[in-house]
């Protein structure tokens, strides 16, 4: 009579420890995946496609979700079937990384160019300087000529 009770306690304990582990697994949402992959034949997002090929692809994703695959594993399986072009978003590694990096570089370069342009424009169109131009003393030859000229007059 005591054994069934012990068994129940063990089952309850197992359930209590398994529940957090199950909760840690993110739930895979088929709609989310369909919005992130392409229908290669249609050339549109899978969520917008209704062609026979798209239906097969959707069924393939649903099957993988049923098998307990993660989102990343499902995307990997799709790439293995259709190649990288099945991904709606470029990958964050390899050559595809340039899709993210180039716009940032372009933005920084454009901002720098704009800043430089504004700086030059402000310098060229700034308020007029009221101060008289700095006096420049005579050069050595000019000084010699001046002395010679002054020497001819009895001042």
């Amino acid at each position: 009579m005591r054994r069934p009770g012990l068994l129940l306690v063990l089952v309850a304990l197992c359930g209590a420890t398994a529940a957090p582990a199950a909760a840690a697994q993110p739930e895979v949402n088929i709609n989310e995946i369909e919005s992130e992959v392409m229908c290669p034949v249609c050339g549109t997002l899978l969520e917008l496609a209704e062609s026979p090929q798209a239906q097969r692809e959707k069924a393939f994703i649903a099957r993988l979700i049923g098998e307990g695959k993660t989102k990343a594993e499902i995307k990997d399986a799709l790439v293995a079937q259709y190649g990288n072009s099945v991904l709606a978003l470029p990958q964050s590694s390899g050559f595809d990384l340039s899709a993210y990096v180039v716009p940032i570089i372009g933005f920084v370069v454009a901002a720098l160019a704009l800043g430089f342009g504004v700086y030059r424009w402000r310098r060229s169109s700034g308020p007029p300087d009221d101060r008289p131009p700095a006096a420049r003393g005579p050069t050595e030859s000019e000084q010699e000529r001046l002395d010679a000229d002054l020497g001819r007059y009895d001042l």
Binding site: P40, Q55, R56, V86
Partner: protein, 173 residues
């Protein structure tokens, strides 16, 4: 100096635009063109092949997919063609394109296709051919030059009138 930078920037932008447009869609191969040499996986058994591996034989390359309804009927016609003419001088070569391999293998099994099959899952080979969809077929001579393209399904009448006069008989030398 400044004007040359602007010219270089404009040329680079136009070059990128032209490259993008040119690489967007493959141009369709025409009669007399050499067969594309893209390596693709075999559908079953592992390994890769290209059309160069079929040089010396007449080859009818048939692009198909398991989700393509007209391909089902066509598979029966091509199977019969392979049975009648297939051998050292001629073969049908199926290319499963933009498809899932489990579905493709099930299709081959279901329709009993006896000719070799390649798998073009990402559509690279189809792109090199410039296909517009499935099914499409291309007959190459033993030198690997395109003799006859056919866009759409091949039925018995098309096969008899368009292709059979070109394809050697099994026993002909």
């Amino acid at each position: 100096m400044r004007s040359s930078i602007v010219v270089v920037a404009v040329v680079a932008a136009v070059g990128l635009l032209v490259y993008g447009l040119a690489s967007k869609g493959g141009s369709q191969i025409a009669v007399g063109d050499p067969a594309p040499q893209t390596m693709v996986d075999k559908l079953e058994g592992g390994g890769e092949e290209s059309l160069a591996d079929y040089r010396g034989r007449w080859v009818m390359v048939n692009f198909w997919a398991s989700w393509c309804v007209p391909c089902r009927e066509e598979a029966k016609t091509l199977n019969e063609l392979q049975r009648q003419r297939g051998g050292p001088k001629f073969t049908v070569l199926g290319v499963d394109s933009n498809d899932l391999s489990p579905d493709a293998k099930a299709f081959v099994k279901r329709y009993g296709a006896t000719y070799p099959q390649l798998r073009d899952g990402n559509g690279d080979l189809a792109h090199d051919f410039g296909t517009t969809g499935v099914p499409e077929s291309y007959l190459f001579d033993p030198q690997g030059r395109l003799k006859m393209p056919w866009r759409g399904p091949i039925d018995e009448r098309i096969l008899r009138e368009q292709f059979l006069p070109l394809i050697p008989q099994k026993g002909n030398s």
